[in-house]
């Protein structure tokens, strides 16, 4: 236990840096994924048949292949196209493109669960289709799927650990580096796990509060 405390205090600055990188990657990827998800449901809402089929195919590919391989594809593939983007950028794009697909599925199920009358009422008072989507459909769907969105966001935070595989010095890679440098073994990953728990449980708590508030206000 003593050894653990000494180890922990010595490497705390490194873990703090890793923690900030992990939180930063998550803070970039989460809004990007959400925006991408909204972009992905536009073709279906606008009833563009071919574009929505394309989106469906994209979502299937994302759902049924590992994020790690998608990340490798970007990280090792983009330089071949002459795009030398940093590993953080590649990681964020990969996370956003997979989680965007998942989030768009969740939003879609929320939209489908809304009554057809919402659409009809919107157009009956003279709103255009786009206005109905923006002012009537999306806000309600959003509130409805808030718990599922929250769960997916927590999965996203955990998935940021994959950026360590392409060399971003996040919490996970910090843990591995600490082991290689200090000769410590699993203690490093107990610390890493602890920091991830702080991150995911705080986020979980905040999301719960938002959910309860939203339910009270709009439910």
């Amino acid at each position: 236990m003593d050894a653990f405390v000494i180890f922990f205090t010595r490497y705390l600055p490194a873990f703090a840096d890793g923690f900030l990188i992990t939180a930063g990657v998550a803070a970039l990827a989460a809004p990007a994924a959400l925006i991408w998800a909204i972009v992905l449901i536009i073709p279906r809402l606008a009833q563009w048949t071919w574009a929505s089929r394309l989106v469906d195919a994209y979502v299937e590919v994302m759902r049924n292949s590992p994020l790690l391989v998608q990340m490798y594809l970007l990280y090792f593939g983009l330089p071949l196209l002459g795009l030398f983007w940093s590993s953080i950028v590649c990681g964020v794009i990969a996370i956003a493109s997979q989680h965007g697909a998942f989030l768009s599925e969740i939003l879609r199920s929320g939209i489908q669960s809304l009554s057809q009358r919402q659409w009809e009422a919107g157009s009956a008072i003279g709103m255009r289709r786009f206005a109905v989507i923006r002012l009537v459909i999306l806000p309600q769907a959003f509130i409805k799927v808030l718990p599922a969105l929250g769960n997916q966001l927590i999965v996203l935070v955990k998935d940021t650990s994959l950026v360590s595989a392409i060399g971003v010095m996040d919490l996970t890679l910090t843990g591995k580096m600490t082991i290689e440098r200090s000769g410590a073994s699993f203690e490093a990953f107990i610390a890493v796990a602890f920091f991830y728990l702080i991150l995911t449980s705080t986020l979980g708590l905040v999301l719960r509060i938002i959910e309860v508030r939203a339910a009270r206000r709009y439910g």
């Binding site: 590919v61 594809l73 728990l197 449980s201």
Partner: protein, 215 residues
Amino acid sequence: MFPVLQSNLPYLLQGAVYTVILSAIVVSCGTALGVGIGVLASVGGAILRSIITAYIFLFRGVPVLVIMFLGFYSFPALGLRLDAYTAVAISMIVYVGAFVAEATRGAIAGVPTGQTEAAKSLGMRKGKMMREIVLPQAMRLVIAPVLNISLMAIKQTSYASIVGAWELSFAAREVVERTLAAFQIFLGVMLIYFIICYPLSLAARALDKRLAFDS
């Protein structure tokens, strides 16, 4: 059309066999463990229940990659000499178990109370009630979440390559480092994963729909 992919396909498929074996072990043992723990959580006392709650909370809140590293580095410290593949398999079983336990607990709680009340009024003991009334109904509810968890687990077996276990993603990186044909190889590997996962994901969706229809 894809010469590098074609010439390396046998090697990649060999990796895919390792991925499928790892997935099968993790999914079957993880499901068994999780269902067992989920049932224990529903019949056990307060102490057991809080231990299980802590287990579920801890494992669900940490990335599977970190759990893999934790297993990989702590087995030697415990005096166990395991290769990366076994260490990853054990770590993933415990990880998947936490998700399945949560789903099982939820499913058991989801069986209508009228059912248990009826069983009690017939004079059934707790064990018999669990075996004959609650579990058969709960297991039906747990199939769809378990399929989704399995799908997640199969995709996560690719993270084993980061820890150093040789399987499909590891093989893919080796080939890319040798040939630099990132697009051919990684797109091909995504396709192989897709072929493994897609039937399961179709089944999960069909079941989701049927259960939604039933209720």
